[in-house]
């Protein structure tokens, strides 16, 4: 199959998730002005709340291959009548007590936190929208479009460095091309985005394949993997998994609890300064060295966890080059989600 097989690329690009955004009850009620002379304002607020009661939620189809800050402008506008707190406060999202990391592609978050083997295409992802108590110990700040643009550019640089050993292709883009790439991502415009992004795919010229294995909202695992194995054949998903030592002792439910605790602590800003030790325990399951311990492949074969890429489970004998070409996210990383 040729790389320029538009259909595969396009169907991956067009993957969407139905999401229901609901304004946090805290943000709806907690900003009634405290003093008694604000009676009129309180009355106005109550009228507004009645009028716009149906605007406490917003349903949208959201692209998998995008980032939340690029689509939440609409959400913010939608809720602007239902809350008084949003003027310049930072919007953040939460699902079942877990603050959503905006810098991870939306589809990866969905596969990691929501999707199960029984997930159907019509399953709605219920997300709570907050405008207060930003969990600064868990989420990166994203005060404007520049923040997400800088972040995206840095990850794209990293992926290209892994692929080519330098970032010349990126550095050689003209300002127009850089803007075209960004606008393509921001507006979710396939033609625009891929007119530039295709330059980052060297075909057979990969040094390494940029991949990230991610589980339970923890730091992703990544390492350098050659696209061609020692026998001169293309490296497969199976051989990648067989090289990764994996300890599945922390099961997913206990990790989710950890995350809940984190977010609660963070709203109060009462965390211990020693954040490194706090999270140390929950970051220990993934490692890149393979010695005598269990490999990821063995764990996958035992059936206790599953992997998915762009929401589907490609066969274990899929070539990493092929997956990298077709299944990478806009930041050029291939995200493999374990759940």
């Amino acid at each position: 199959m040729s790389f320029f097989d538009e259909d595969v690329k396009k169907s991956i690009w067009e993957g969407k998730i139905p999401i229901m955004f609901t304004l946090s009850p805290n943000d709806l009620t907690s900003h009634i002005p405290p003093s008694s002379l604000s009676f009129v304002i309180v009355m106005m607020m109550m009228m507004m709340m009645l009028t716009f009661a149906n605007q406490k939620t917003k349903k949208m189809f959201v692209p998998r291959n995008s980032y939340f800050p690029l689509i939440t402008g609409v959400v913010k506008d939608h809720f602007s009548y239902s809350t008084l707190v949003i003027s310049d406060s930072e919007l953040w999202l939460e699902y079942k007590g877990i603050p959503l990391k905006w810098h991870i592609p939306i589809g990866v978050l969905f596969d990691m936190l929501v999707a199960t083997p029984d997930t159907t295409a019509s399953q709605i992802w219920n997300i709570t929208v907050h405008f207060q108590s930003f969990p600064e110990k868990v989420l990166l700040r994203c005060s404007n479009e520049d923040a997400i643009r800088t972040y995206y550019k840095n990850v794209l640089k990293e992926a290209n460095y892994i692929k080519q050993g330098d970032i010349n292709k990126l550095n050689n883009l003209s300002i127009n091309q850089t803007n075209e790439l960004w606008d393509g991502l921001k507006l979710h415009d396939y033609e625009k985005f891929w007119s530039i992004n295709k330059m980052f795919y060297p075909g057979n010229g990969y040094k390494h394949i940029p991949y990230r294995i991610i589980q339970n909202n923890k730091a992703p695992l990544q390492d350098l993997i050659s696209p061609i194995n020692e026998n001169g054949q293309e490296t497969t998903l199976e051989s990648l998994f067989s090289k990764i030592a994996f300890n599945n002792s922390n099961n997913s439910s206990s990790n989710n609890n950890n995350n809940n605790n984190n977010s609660n602590n963070n709203s109060n800003n009462n965390n211990n300064i020693d954040t490194s030790n706090e999270t140390q325990q929950s970051t220990t399951t993934l490692s890149s060295s393979s010695t005598n311990s269990t490999t990821l492949l063995q764990v996958l074969n035992s059936g206790s966890i599953r992997y998915s890429i762009q929401g589907i489970e490609p066969p274990l004998n899929s070539s990493l080059i092929w997956l990298g070409d077709y299944f990478s996210h806009p930041d050029n990383f291939l995200y493999i989600v374990l759940a």
Partner: protein
Amino acid sequence: MQTHLTWQQFKLQCERLIELVNQYRGSGIQQNENQDSFNWYWLETDDRGTGCLVLKSIKTINTELPQQINVSNNKDIDIESELEENDIQTINSSNERDITTSKLNQKFVHYEYHISFSVSYQVPVLYLNVYNSDSSFIKWDDIWNLLPLSSYDKSNLSSIPWISQVDHPLLGIPFYQLHPCETANLMNQVLANNNIVDDDKCSTTITTQNHENDYLLSWLSIVGPLVGIRLPKEILILNKNLK
């Protein structure tokens, strides 16, 4: 000439740095210096030896000069002369009453530095967070003003590494990162210069080997002072003697 590190080299050089710093602290060279400015340790993040180098130190700042947050004349900070000049100017321009009250309003700031290994770039990467005493984050604009780097930035924007907030690669929580994409180029120049000097002295491959061992220390001696990490020259001398 080496522009990158492997994970094994990185870990060995981290251990060496800890050893050097401990020697320095035990040598009694540092007089009146804040002990925790040198309290580097290895933070293991899994049972297979993965981890990063960590330094936590507490500094005092003056809360009365919000425009140019004034790092007080605390000995544990290696302030370049340029910054010191700025400080003096700021103090001169404020009136006497301000100086008196500001002395009463010193607050403690908690710095946490991590040096982690970037698998992608095969170089060391510096991360930092700065907290108030109640463990809340200090706002980025205020952190920026606390960093010696901000005084260089005024004159020479292009040559500095870019700092942005990212998830810590091992801990998965927000940290400010000095972006690593130029580190290999920087080290290429630094270590190339060293090689030229050594070639003049007709030195052999053993010297090149030594440079490989100096990678982390050389890098930290350039990047560290930009973000307030103190690396006394005595440590570099100890490093030479250790060979």
